[in-house]
């Protein structure tokens, strides 16, 4: 064949298959003759001829394709209208499946996939201090260490830092506790944040002794300060001190809710290298990787350790990308687990619809066999079936998208406390693309098998089959049920594991009695409460007035209530003979009032609680948690011994261990300082009441009577704090559980469908058996046995897969192993039981077959 003709045949391939079948050879013949004519007109004729051919193909071929597609679409729509029940069931199933997947994907996208809202965020890193010897993997930095890093490190374009705190804002209304960042001047530029009005801090304002300035966020500016730019340059009162507002920044530029920023303006003369308070974030220079920066920082940490051995020996540096910090790996794993589970549900739904489609296809097989026999191409038949399934999936996808869209506002508000960036959940481009792809893939997936089986060349067999499905179809449908049960087993196993760990978390020994406790925070501005005496006088007044109120059982004060977020800790040594010798123990600490243990329901195991007699200026005292005491003096009475943090403190009591941070973390060794001797800038009131007494108004009234300029904030019951703490495992367990139930239901429907069909298929055989004297019992066994074999294979495959996949969800589990044999056995048994149950109805129908009627079927 000559080259130009080959080229022409290549161009022909642009046209749809059918068009080529019909006109291809004629076109080639026409081409030959036309080319001969054109050649007579010389080169110019040839050129014109070829441009004509090419232009023609490029314009007409897509049109022909579109025409075929539209015709298939019309054909499919007509076919679907003829079986409305099938169409409805399929669309509803797909809408639920695709909708659930899209909804979960919108969460995954907002939380884990989309990039951070900061310019060039891949170069942003969070930098921590660490201490391997004290087993502290990540810790805030001290101000002097941050300054040393900033001055020495070359890897960063900028190294910024902040410490978060709070202040009482008295300008523009009732006193309000606001969260405040004390930030270095380079912090916001480092993130690429710009003010919406005014300006950011200048480096001069970030120096000791500079005039007081502040940035406020848009919401505070609009809601409390009038929303006019006149505010720029005027002062607001924070803890009674005037700060000039220089700029306004957007709320959503901050990952955590904050209200205002003031310059850090560090006083290096008083800041200690051992006081770890700063969050340090850096922007790497272009081309510098985290390991390179880490290497440099390791060297700097070593230098600092040698220069300041007292504070910096053994302290190193560690870093991670800001993304890894804000969206921690376990959160991402949890989300991917959800996405995987919901994808499995869709897969099971697909198998169900494939099964349904196969049953329907069996009825249409004759029609299609006739068309094949009359010369319709196989591709044509395959394409028609696929068009039909993609059309169904698209309809399901559209409804699903609407469902997902309607649930997004609920996600945004309900997940805000559980997941970072939940506020960003929206119907974005990628989410739309996901829904579209999921619909297409779904359509192709459940359409492929029926399309393939229905277009078989074995026309004669199909014509003879007369509406009954062939052997291959039967096998295909059984395989689908096996796959479905396997998938359901995996999902159910995951749900069972997550459910168990959630229950274990709920039942964990907290170390205190959480019922009927309300916590409320108060911060005393140092400008008006200059020393400890003033502060303690205020708190003891509040405690005594609250204690005298009806319904209040006990009141205490602490520097940090359990589960309220945040932690304070420091290394501590014991004096004299002890198990650790001169080694330090890293222990958490809290400052608590004498009534705290009573209010929390923490048992005093030895010695006593604090009393008003433990005065500031008197001998320093401390109470240890049982674990802390055991580590220093495993076999002796710790009462009367001393520990050293700064000054020596005498141990006066030992109390029970308490889980302070979350349910999954074992209690940590803890020291309690006396609030009568030390106070923290903000303290938490712990109020135990007899029953449901409204505590918030009571506390507000008493505090406001004592000092009208103070704000009471973060009023929460202990139950709420506990619930918030388990919100993520609860969410995961509930959703995966829900998906598992759906999977189970779909699998049961699948088993039922296949067996019901099987019974219809074998009606004649069963009739013959019954006519020959078979007992109903043996017929029952026949059908149920069939179901049992199918489900046993499916469940066994699923259990094996669950064993393989188990470790992937280990980070989401608490107190249960990912390959827990008992769980797997229970789940398998449950699935087998459900499969047998689903077989019951078809089996019973089989026993009631009337031999006479059955034999007349033909």
């Amino acid at each position: 064949m000559r080259l130009p003709e080959r080229l022409f045949r290549l161009v022909l391939r642009l046209y749809p298959h059918e068009f080529r079948e019909r006109f291809g050879s004629d076109m080639v013949a026409a081409y030959r003759e036309a080319r001969a004519d054109a050649a007579m007109c010389g080169r110019r004729g040839s050129f014109e001829f070829w441009t004509g051919v090419m232009a023609d193909a490029l314009v007409r071929a897509p049109g022909e394709h579109m025409r075929m597609f539209l015709r298939d679409l019309r054909y499919a729509a007509r076919a679907l209208r003829r079986s409305p029940m099938y169409t409805l069931v399929a669309i509803a199933t797909l809408a639920l499946g695709i909708g659930a997947n899209t909804a979960i994907f919108s969460v995954v996208h907002a939380v884990a996939l989309q990039s951070l809202p900061f310019a060039d965020s891949a170069r942003l890193v969070r930098v921590w201090e660490k201490n391997d010897k004290l087993r502290i993997p990540q810790f805030s930095a001290s101000v002097p260490n941050y300054v040393s890093w900033r001055d020495r490190a070359q890897s960063f374009e900028q190294l910024g830092a902040w410490r978060s705190g709070s202040a009482t804002l008295t300008t523009g209304g009732e006193p309000q506790r606001v969260s405040r960042l004390e930030a270095t001047a380079n912090l916001l530029p480092l993130f690429g944040i710009r003010p919406i009005a005014g300006r950011l801090f200048t480096p001069e304002e970030d120096r000791l002794g500079a005039a007081h300035v502040a940035l406020i966020v848009e919401s505070v500016w609009r809601n409390r300060l009038g929303g006019s730019t006149d505010i720029l340059g005027t002062p607001i009162l924070l803890d009674g001190i005037p700060y000039n507002v220089v700029g306004i920044v957007r709320d959503r530029d901050f990952v955590l809710p904050i209200h205002c920023l003031t310059p850090l303006a560090a006083n290096l003369a008083v800041e200690s290298r051992s006081n770890h308070m700063m969050t340090v974030v850096g922007r790497l220079r272009p081309g510098v990787t985290i390991p390179q920066a880490q290497k440099e920082m390791d060297a700097i940490a070593l230098q600092l350790g040698q220069e300041y051995p007292k504070d910096d020996a053994d302290w190193g540096v560690t870093m991670a990308s800001v993304y890894d910090w804000l969206v921690p790996r376990p959160v991402r794993t949890g989300l991917y687990l959800l996405l995987g589970s919901v994808a499995l549900v869709l897969l099971i739904a697909c198998t169900n619809i494939a099964n349904l489609t196969l049953a329907r296809a069996a009825l249409r097989r004759r029609e299609q066999a006739v068309r094949l026999a009359l010369g319709a191409s196989r591709i044509r038949v395959v394409r028609e079936v696929l068009t039909e399934s993609v059309l169904l999936a698209s309809a399901g996808g559209a409804v699903g998208l609407a469902l997902a869209y309607s649930i997004m506002p609920v996600f945004r508000t309900q997940l805000a406390t559980v997941l970072p960036r939940a506020g960003d959940i929206a119907l974005s481009g990628p989410v739309l693309a996901f829904a579209l792809l999921a619909s297409l893939a779904t359509g192709l997936l459940f359409g492929a098998l029926p399309a393939f089986l229905n277009s078989s060349r074995d026309v004669l067999d199909a014509l003879k089959a007369d509406g009954r499905s062939g052997a291959r179809q039967g096998i295909a449908r059984r395989l689908l049920v096996v796959g479905q049960l396997a998938l359901a087993t995996i999902l159910l196993a995951a749900a069972a594991l997550l459910g168990q760990s959630f229950l274990r978390l709920q039942r964990v020994e907290l170390g205190f009695r959480p019922g009927n406790i309300t916590t409320a925070m108060i911060g005393l501005p140092s400008s008006r409460y200059r020393d400890h005496a003033a502060g303690w006088q205020f708190y003891s007044r509040i405690i005594s007035e609250l204690s005298g109120t009806a319904g209040v059982e006990a009141v205490g004060v602490t520097s940090g209530a359990p589960f309220a977020g945040g932690n304070t800790g420091q290394p501590v040594r014991a004096q004299g003979a002890n198990a650790l010798g001169n080694e330090s123990l890293q222990a958490d600490w809290r400052m608590v009032s004498p009534g705290y243990f009573n209010a929390m329901g923490i048992p005093i195991l030895r010695g006593r609680s604090f009393t008003e007699e433990d005065r500031r200026g008197g001998p320093g005292v401390v109470i240890l948690s049982a674990d802390a005491a055991r580590r220093f003096w495993p076999n002796e009475d710790p009462i009367g011994r001393s520990i050293v943090t700064g000054e020596p403190l005498r141990v006066v009591g030992v109390v029970g261990d308490v889980r302070n941070l979350n349910q999954a973390l074992d209690p940590r060794p803890t020291m309690y300082y006396a609030a009568t001797q030390f106070l923290w800038p903000s303290m938490t009131l712990v109020v135990r009441t007899t029953a449901d007494v409204p505590v918030a108004p009571m506390v507000r009234r008493i505090v406001s009577a004592a000092d009208p300029q103070l704000a009471v904030f973060n009023v929460r019951t202990m139950e709420t704090l506990l619930e918030t703490s388990t919100a993520q495992p609860r969410l995961t367990a509930w959703l995966v559980g829900l998906f598992a139930v759906l999977a189970l239901l779909l699998a049961a429907i699948g088993v039922y469908g296949v067996l019901a069909y099987l019974v219809t298929q074998r009606t004649r055989e069963i009739g013959v058996r019954l006519a020959l004297g078979a007992r109903p019992g043996s017929v029952l066994r026949l059908v149920v046995g069939h179901s049992f074999r199918l489900s046993a294979i499916g469940v066994a495959l699923g259990a094996a897969a669950a064993l393989l996949l188990g470790p992937a969800i280990e980070s989401q589990l608490y107190g249960v192993r990912p390959r827990d044999a008992a769980t797997l056995a229970t789940v398998s048994a449950a699935l087998l039981a459900v499969a047998l149950l689903a077989a019951y109805l078809p089996a019973r129908r089989a026993t009631r077959v009337d031999p006479l009627v059955a034999l007349r079927v033909e």
Partner: protein, 126 residues
Amino acid sequence: MTERDIDRERELDKHLPLPPAVFHILIALGDGEKHGYAVMQDVADRTGGKVRMSPGTLYGSIRKMLDEGLIEEIFLRGARAAAKEDERRRYYRVTKFGRTVAAAEAARLSALLHDARVAGLVPRKG
């Protein structure tokens, strides 16, 4: 006019005006069945080589005209096929409906021509 006439009128209107390629093919087939290439040649001859259809345009139009019932495919057998030399080729002829449509198009063009004359847009011969 009866209802049927109105329906027919509507059916005709759907096809008018005819794309030039379609009208050319109808004209080429007007005097008897032809295969595709013969149509191409006929059109080229009649227009003095000005209208040259590429195979794509030709068969694209033929497909459309078949779908619309303007032309039909005929199977030649036996002696006639031998006489027509190449029996593997598909031959086409104009249907009754195709003739009606072609006549309507011709009438439409003729009316248009008349209008053009009245407007003095057509040069007089001689």
